[in-house]
């Protein structure tokens, strides 16, 4: 039965792969700088690596927000999050799985009268606002670094093209790793407390914890989403929404990847703290909103008019509406699961 409940998370993972891989490789594939097969392979491998190796930090934050401990509840929450994302996307609002799952967890807290850690909630909400802003700042900084370098080096257009292709793949790999590390918590984070997996020691130092196996499975679901359904999204991002040159696209994807990484990497957080520098909380943030932030940052450098303020307004609306709807729907869904289907939603 637990394996069946996991399907909810895997569906969410599939949907994440289908939608968010476009943020990483959309422009490269849309502009025919990178073939879809190459992009899908690189994204899949690095998403799984990011999920298994770096996914624990953001998951701990989600668990701190609400320790969902019954498989039926985890299933309900992931399905509610998936449906919320689906409805909001239908309403053309750029929503994020993160916001939906956080809303659903808060709904579970209310339903089960579990306390919601306000500090964690504030940290999460603040990071949603901060992530696109930070992505814009990173993009601006990277833009000037690249511009200065290219103006000094006089690289032949054809060579620059070859380097940009390689750069798009490398940056895409970093982006996919960051996506896996940051967003795996959305996909299987609510199953951590009820994970059916036990630790495995394969040989010598090779050890896979139960949680890592869960993350691996979630990563595979994201990969499946990338291979089966992301092509349309990639070409749409490349051709319709974002009109950037491949080089600017590389800068935007790198800025987006860095944002996802700083909100996911325990190592980076530790390094910053050891240097006495301020560090960011490990929180799952929206990949789509980070990329929009990065693109807007580059856009503002050229002219404030190129920034799509209507789209930015929709993002702000998504910050409020998505968690609110997910919380309300999860309350209703949990009521049905507990009272109609007679399933345990809290232990």
């Amino acid at each position: 039965m637990t394996s069946f409940y996991l399907l909810g998370g895997l569906f969410l993972g599939w949907s994440l792969g289908a939608n968010d891989a476009a943020n990483v490789f959309g422009t490269a594939v849309g502009a025919r700088m990178v073939r879809f097969k190459t992009a899908a392979l690189v994204a899949s491998v690095f998403v799984v690596l990011g999920a298994v190796l770096g996914g624990s930090g953001t998951t701990e934050t989600l668990v701190a927000l609400g320790a969902v401990n019954a498989p039926a509840a985890s299933f309900t929450l992931t399905v509610v999050a998936g449906l919320t994302v689906f409805w909001m996307t239908k309403a053309t609002l750029p929503v994020s799985t993160t916001q939906a799952i956080v809303g659903a967890i808060v709904g579970w807290n209310w339903f089960t009268s579990s306390p919601t850690d306000r500090g964690t909630l504030v940290k999460i909400v603040a990071s949603w606002v901060l992530s696109p802003v930070l992505a814009a700042l990173f993009a601006v900084a990277l833009y000037y670094i690249f511009k200065g370098y290219l103006n000094r080096r006089h690289i032949h257009l054809l060579r620059l093209d070859a380097y940009t292709r390689a750069g798009l793949i490398a940056v895409g790999a970093i982006g996919a790793y960051s996506l896996g590390a940051n967003n795996i918590a959305n996909v299987v984070g609510v199953f951590v407390r009820s994970s059916p997996f036990v630790d495995i020691s394969i040989s010598g130092p090779l050890h896979l914890s139960g949680v890592q196996q869960l993350f691996f499975l979630g990563g595979l679901a994201i990969s499946l989403g990338i291979f089966s359904y992301s092509y349309r999204m990639m070409t749409a991002v490349g051709n319709e929404i974002v009109k950037l040159t491949p080089l600017l696209a590389m800068i935007a994807v790198l800025a987006h990847a860095l944002v996802l990484l700083v909100f996911a990497s325990k190592g980076l957080k530790g390094a910053l703290m050891s240097l006495g520098l301020p560090s960011l909380p490990l929180v799952p943030v929206s990949s789509s909103q980070a990329i929009v932030g990065a693109i807007s940052g580059i856009g503002m450098l050229k002219s404030a008019r190129v920034v799509n303020y209507r789209y930015l307004g929709k993002i702000v609306m998504g910050w409020v509406l998505t968690p609110a709807i997910a919380a309300a729907v999860s309350l209703v869904a949990l009521f049905f699961v507990q009272n109609v289907f007679q399933q345990t939603v809290v232990r």
């Binding site: 025919r32 290219l150 103006n151 032949h156 060579r159 093209d161």
Partner: protein
């Protein structure tokens, strides 16, 4: 790094060779005009033949470059601009070859007092073409200097126009048959067109450069 540029390096060489041909074609054209004006007709015919061969080589190279750019889907963002530039630059070379051929076919009777005007006219027109080649090279490697080269081309195009006007005024002020006057004007006009075509390429180049700026 070498692995990354294994496809693009031969193409870089081909583009350089193609632009070299335009520069050399300009020099041959100037020499051809001088030989014609000095009535060294054997040398003139040899230059014409040389320029005609260059035109063929240029056409072949341009087609190879176009095929390579498309078959390897290189520079997707700038491919249209680059192909447009190369095709229009080819027109400059073709114009030089065509003009020299008209000298051979129509044998215009150039009075001695007009010879220096024709020499200067050819010099200015070819300086404009050379500036165009420099601007195209800069487009590939150093965007910041494209503007400087384009300014030079515009300057030499204006000088060519002035020189052509001066020549036409001189021709029409002389006691010649009207058909002779019109014939000489036709040649002045055709040499002038080399600089006009070079400037047209530079107009496209300015737009392409803006698009390429990061």
């Amino acid at each position: 790094m070498d692995l990354l540029i294994r496809r693009t390096k031969p193409l870089e060489v081909q583009i350089d060779e193609y632009l070299d041909i335009i520069v050399k074609g300009g020099l041959v054209f100037k020499e051809g005009v001088k030989c014609y004006l000095k009535r060294r007709l054997a040398d003139f015919e040899s230059h014409l033949e040389q320029l005609s061969d260059m035109e063929d080589t240029g056409d072949r190279l341009r087609r190879e470059i176009e095929t390579n750019l498309y078959s390897h889907t290189l520079i997707p963002e700038s491919r249209g601009d680059v192909l447009g530039l190369l095709e229009n630059a080819d027109r400059v070379l073709n114009r030089m070859a065509e003009t020299l051929l008209q000298f051979s076919v129509e044998s215009p009777e150039v009075c001695e007092e007009f010879s220096p005007f024709f020499v200067d006219l050819a010099d200015f027109a070819i300086l404009a073409a050379e500036g165009m080649v420099k601007a195209i090279r800069a487009y590939f490697t150093d965007l910041t200097s494209v503007r400087d080269h384009i300014n030079q081309v515009q300057f030499y195009r204006k000088e060519t126009n002035k020189m052509a006007e001066k020549l036409k005024r001189q021709v029409f002020a002389h006691q010649l048959r009207l058909s002779h006057k019109i014939h000489l004007r036709y040649f002045a006009y055709h040499v002038e067109l080399i600089a006009e075509e070079a400037e047209d390429v530079c107009d496209r180049l300015s737009i392409a450069t803006i698009k390429r700026y990061v």
